[in-house]
Amino acid sequence: MSVVIKAEQLSKSYIIRHHGEKRHDALRDVITENVKGTLLKTKSLFSGKSGFPSNSREEFWALDDINFEVLKGDRVGVIGRNGAGKSTLLKLLSRITEPTVGKISINGRIASLLEVGTGFHAELSGRENVYLNGAILGMHRTEIRKKFDEIVAFAEVEKFLDTPVKRYSSGMYVRLAFAVAAYLESEILVVDEVLAVGDTEFQKKCLGKMQNVSREEGRTVLFVSHNMAAISKLCNKGILLNKGRIVKDSDIGTVVDTYISTCFKNDSYLMEGGNSDKEIYFERIFLSRDKIQPINTFSFSDDIFCIFEINGRKLNKETTLTFIVRDRNLNPIFSEHHLVKEIKGRLIATIPMKILLPGKYYLQSMLHIPNVRFLDNNEEYISFSVEETGSKNAIYNADLGFVNIPVLWEEK
């Protein structure tokens, strides 16, 4: 098999600027500082150099010495936590931004779908948008015309072709946008988390299309997703990124397992020693049956106490503790939010008995000011399991979901 993508020592750095680090003691200093700054900026403006000279700059390596090869026909899943460098890698591959160091060699036409419906205009009709979007993706008019019917059929929007897309339901919009990209004639298809949108039915259809593209047409697919189930199903190879470096590059099964076990410290039912530099942080998080002893295995008829010990020096009146319970594939099941009132103390959340069905779960917790910023985004998920001790599903040998809801029945 021939190599279609080859990345060598690929690195990308961004400059982060820190604000409010300088201290001015006198107005005179402020003025001289500003005048100096303005002169430098003006100078850089005309010389075309990257401007904003300032001392408070820091380099951040979003990708650091990445090496990998992708063979023709491979379906590669790129996984990793938020901020691991997945999107940066795709941006480099798609030529949206250029690497700081290293190189990528590509064989064949590459089509990238980092977002569905890039360039779609709300005022234009479905038909007009197909042509426009196709052109933006690099298709020629004749090529689009040839595939037009197929695209429309795939998207199931025949009836609404001449309606402005602003009147489309979000599902129709996504379907149309995905369809255009999927019918692009390219040897390599790069897809970012686009399937997060759209309904399940359509997600299945897209996955199926991507599988077809790869298996029957021999095209290479690079796919980023947080949905381990989808990745495992679609891909045969995997690349695991963490903090800009490759942790694992192997077959998809191994990579997904590594992801779940290393990134989320399997069976670490106790999280200790938070980061005391932060203004507020988790000192200890653990799960318990009696609020004292940390454990990680519960029975179906146990109350699960989630114990968060918080410490810090500054409390905002909007500081919120959020926890998310995720299933074994890290899909969120439910979440809970609580306003933090004391800067130092212990918060106990009870997940009542007989709610979580037997299975393996992860608890993710964070302290944040909603929609403003994260204060402590605990990166280690705590894993725990619920054992079967007589749920109503016990007699069925099937995957019946995650939660037990006290449903009321009536029979007349």
Binding site: G48, E123, E128, P164
Partner: protein, 278 residues
């Protein structure tokens, strides 16, 4: 496999992003028109009179100009109908000013596309110029209507009009590309552009003839590239007394060409970081 002999279609390396630039520009040639077509389609959506706006806008401006400069300021009209004198200059000026301000904002309004997809970035500002070119052609039709109304027969010099049109396009391309890329990084230009356009109207011979400028200042005045273009348009359309001031025209052309090369150079230089800083 002998790796050294492997041939790759595309190599992405620092500083080499633009290697196939002009080839890519050719490959994406249809996008110029598609984007322009989009902007034209979208512009008159949800308006009642639709396309009629594209005729009413330049017509109204012309009427206002004629009244202000011809009636109120009483500037000399050199024997031609004042409306035509003003209109001949307004054609290139309107084309320049709207293209210039549209191009300056074009990259920012299309920021979403810049961060999500690859194509030669040059296409975006250039396609806004195409949109305005369509407006220009409509305005040209109005001029013909005006000539018929005043029963004005244009001189043979009108055959040179395409040359000055090309000159206008070069000014627009150069300054538009420069301002568009500056605007990505320094949003200050969002406030500077409307000022330049306003001010430029008064320092360009739109509402008056450049003969009112004292002879000794004319060369200096021609540093403004629009002076050469506007005088050129007048000469082509009105002929007669509107002689071309040759040294001034040559200076305008030099400034224009410099602007073009500097604009393209600066755009190409900053383009690779657009997606990171926009």
């Amino acid at each position: 496999m002998a790796e050294a002999n492997e041939k790759f279609d595309l190599v992405i390396e620092p500083g080499r992003l633009g290697r196939n630039y002009w080839l890519d520009l050719w490959r994406f040639r249809e996008l110029f028109l598609f984007l322009a077509w989009r902007d034209i389609l979208v512009r008159y959506k949800q308006t009642i009179i639709g396309l009629a706006w594209s005729i009413i806008r330049p017509l109204l401006t012309m009427i206002v100009f004629t009244i202000i400069f011809g009636r109120v300021a009483k500037l000399p009209s050199e024997g031609v109908p004042y409306a035509i004198l003003v209109y001949a200059a307004m054609l290139p000026w309107q084309f320049f000013s709207t293209s210039f301000s549209d191009a300056s904002n074009s990259l920012i309004t299309n920021a979403n596309m810049l961060t999500k997809i690859y194509f030669p970035r040059l296409i975006i500002p250039v396609s806004t110029v195409i949109v305005n070119f369509v407006d220009f052609m409509i305005s040209l039709l109005i001029l013909i209507g005006l000539m018929i109304w005043y029963q004005f027969v244009p001189p043979l010099t009108i055959l040179f009009l395409p040359l000055f049109l090309v000159l206008t396009l070069i000014i627009i391309a150069g300054s538009g590309l420069y301002i568009a890329s500056l605007n990505v990084k320094y949003r200050d230009f969002k406030f500077i552009v409307p000022f330049v356009v306003q001010f430029g109207l008064y320092i360009s011979p739109v509402g008056f003839s450049s003969t009112v400028i004292p002879e000794k200042w004319r060369l200096l005045y021609s540093l403004n590239p629009m002076v050469g273009v506007i005088d050129g348009f007048r000469w082509c359309i009105l002929g007669g007394n509107n002689h071309i001031y040759m040294p001034g025209l040559l200076l305008s052309i030099t400034v224009t060409l410099f602007l073009l090369f500097y604009g393209i150079w600066y755009f190409r230089k900053t383009e690779r970081s657009f997606a990171d800083i926009i």
